[in-house]
């Protein structure tokens, strides 16, 4: 069985999720392992969510919000970026570093950009291999 990376993607309601919607409507392909969780704003991203995703045996976490300056609530995406920068230290210490977490942006009309981000991130995680926290490692 080939390793199919499982990616937990947190997308904000206003940009990231709309972009994913558009990617779907335009029939753009991205890996089936990318599972999307909709948030009102990436500013509500808590370190807890990221760790919870890894605990639930996801191989990577992708956070997609609005572009800097166009957050629906003003500065939620900046908060998310700063908070996640700190969490990356925690992930490094846990042996989950090396880019298993990515914070990026796609505006509501950028369906192709969402598909591109999802594809590229899934490819990166595929190269990193399964998360060490997985109980049964699929080979």
């Amino acid at each position: 069985m080939t390793f199919e990376p499982q990616v937990c993607a947190f997308a904000c309601n206003w940009c990231g999720y709309s972009a994913a919607d558009q990617a779907g409507a335009a029939k753009l392909e991205y890996p089936a392992g990318v599972k999307i969780v909709r948030l009102m704003c990436t500013g509500m991203m808590d370190p807890y969510y990221v760790l919870r995703a890894f605990e639930r045996e996801f191989d990577g976490v992708l956070i997609i919000g609005c572009h800097i300056g166009s957050c629906h609530y003003g500065t939620g995406n900046v908060q998310a970026r700063d908070e996640m920068a700190r969490v990356s230290g925690v992930l490094n210490a846990l042996g989950l570093g090396q880019g298993r977490l990515l914070v990026d942006a796609a505006s509501a009309s950028e369906g192709p950009r969402f598909a591109k981000l999802a594809n590229e991130f899934a490819e990166r995680v595929r190269k990193l291999g399964p998360s060490p926290l997985r109980e049964v490692i699929a080979q």
């Binding site: 605990e55 700190r86 230290g89 925690v90 846990l94 060490p132 926290l133």
Partner: protein
């Protein structure tokens, strides 16, 4: 003991034994309903409906499992009630047993933001495939080893800076290594180490705690070390008092809090405080080191040994010390903030620095000071005992 059991059995309504099995095991049937627990409880002062006495009474009447969720999680397990209790009813132990029992039926684990973080961190560390890199925070100029007689158990400290940006928690670790190096000890800091499981146990997650305890006990015993040092009051309490219950043969390793190690090194003459630290300080007893482990003197001895330091006691100290407001990251609310304000004002009236011996006390108090309260406090700084001792080394 049999006498007290029969007394309660007589007092209970007919047809029921009146003694809850959980209480029975914990010998809490000695409650005389004097209400000292409730009046000493720091939570009760804000939330008057919260009463340990009422919960114990309810448990007597066979309703231990009907303890409401608010009462179950509002308890800080700080142990103040047990300290003042004339019959030593182990209320924190009872709450812990009930959390263990009732948690599977609740939809939320711990009703507090950072509680979720600590909870999930413990669960991740209980995974078998975990491959940690725990030494990134150490930095240059400090010596640590892979093998040796002394283990420095860091616990969750390397992870705290990722969340609590207002506290340099890793600074405590660097100070501890600096002190040990100065005394000629090169401590072991192992990547195999895992969370001590304190929060998991006190929040009712025994499975995770036991997995962590066994994993830790295994590598510690395989390492062949004689002594284990920790800078955290919670780790100290767990390793010393809870691990022997699940990890079996644990006698070979002596568990020391950093303050005990420093006290010993000073007595042996292996460590000398050369540089005066010109500060006025007061000391906050962490509940896990004080009331739960009965270690009140070592930290005070260390403070008294630092030259230039003026040490002033607060009014409520030792057994009567106030809690920092949060126990096992399971509760943070209005009561917490009230307690912290009261305690910090008390400290500020005595000194300009408050010393603690637990990184979590420091985090909780610093959180209050960082949160820009409505009524700003005088210039009070929270420092860890280990950091202060490292300053005195010069």
């Amino acid at each position: 003991m049999t006498e007290t059991v029969s007394l309660v059995a007589v007092a209970a309504p007919s047809g029921r034994t009146g003694v809850d099995p959980a209480l029975h095991v914990l010998t809490a049937e000695g409650c005389i309903q004097c209400n000292k627990c409730t009046f000493s409880c720091p939570v009760h002062r804000v939330d008057v409906l919260f009463s340990p006495r009422k919960v114990i009474l309810q448990a007597y009447l066979g309703g231990a499992d009907d303890v409401n969720e608010r009462d179950l999680w509002a308890c800080l397990t700080c142990g103040e009630c047990q300290a003042v209790c004339p019959t030593q009813v182990p209320y924190p132990g009872f709450i812990r047993a009930q959390r263990e029992k009732l948690r599977p039926g609740l939809d939320r684990a711990a009703p507090c933001k950072h509680g979720g973080f600590k909870d999930i961190l413990a669960k991740i560390m209980a995974k078998p495939g975990l491959n940690q890199d725990r030494r990134a925070w150490i930095g240059d100029g400090l010596r640590v080893a892979d093998k040796g007689d002394v283990i420095y158990f860091t616990g969750c400290m390397p992870y705290l800076d990722g969340i609590f940006s207002y506290c340099d928690s890793a600074g405590i670790g660097r100070a501890a290594i600096k002190i040990m190096n100065a005394a000629g000890i090169v401590p072991v800091v192992a990547n195999a180490e895992r969370c001590c499981g304190h929060d998991a146990l006190w929040n009712g997650d025994r499975t995770t705690f036991e997995t962590l305890a066994r994993a830790n006990a295994r590598w510690i015993q395989e390492s062949g070390a004689k002594r284990l040092v920790t800078t955290c009051a919670e780790c100290y309490y767990m390793l010393k008092h809870e691990y022997p219950k699940v990890a079996g043969d644990w006698d070979g390793v002596e568990v020391l809090h950093m303050s005990e190690l420093i006290e010993g090194l000073l007595k042996e003459g292996r460590l000398k405080f050369a540089r005066p630290v010109d500060l006025q300080v007061t000391y906050q007893d962490p509940c896990r080191l004080g009331r739960h482990s009965k270690e009140y003197d070592a930290p005070r001895e260390v403070l008294k040994a630092i030259p230039g330091l003026t040490f002033v006691e607060m009014d409520r100290v030792r057994e009567n010390s106030m809690c920092c407001g949060v126990g096992a990251y399971s509760n943070c609310d209005a009561a917490t903030k009230f307690m912290q304000q009261e305690r910090l004002e008390e400290a500020a009236s005595k000194a300009d620095h408050m010393v603690t011996a637990c990184p979590h006390c420091r985090i909780h108090f610093s959180c209050y000071l960082d949160g820009r309260p409505v009524d700003p406090l005088p210039d009070l700084k929270i420092v860890d005992l280990t950091e202060l001792a490292a300053q005195a080394l010069g």
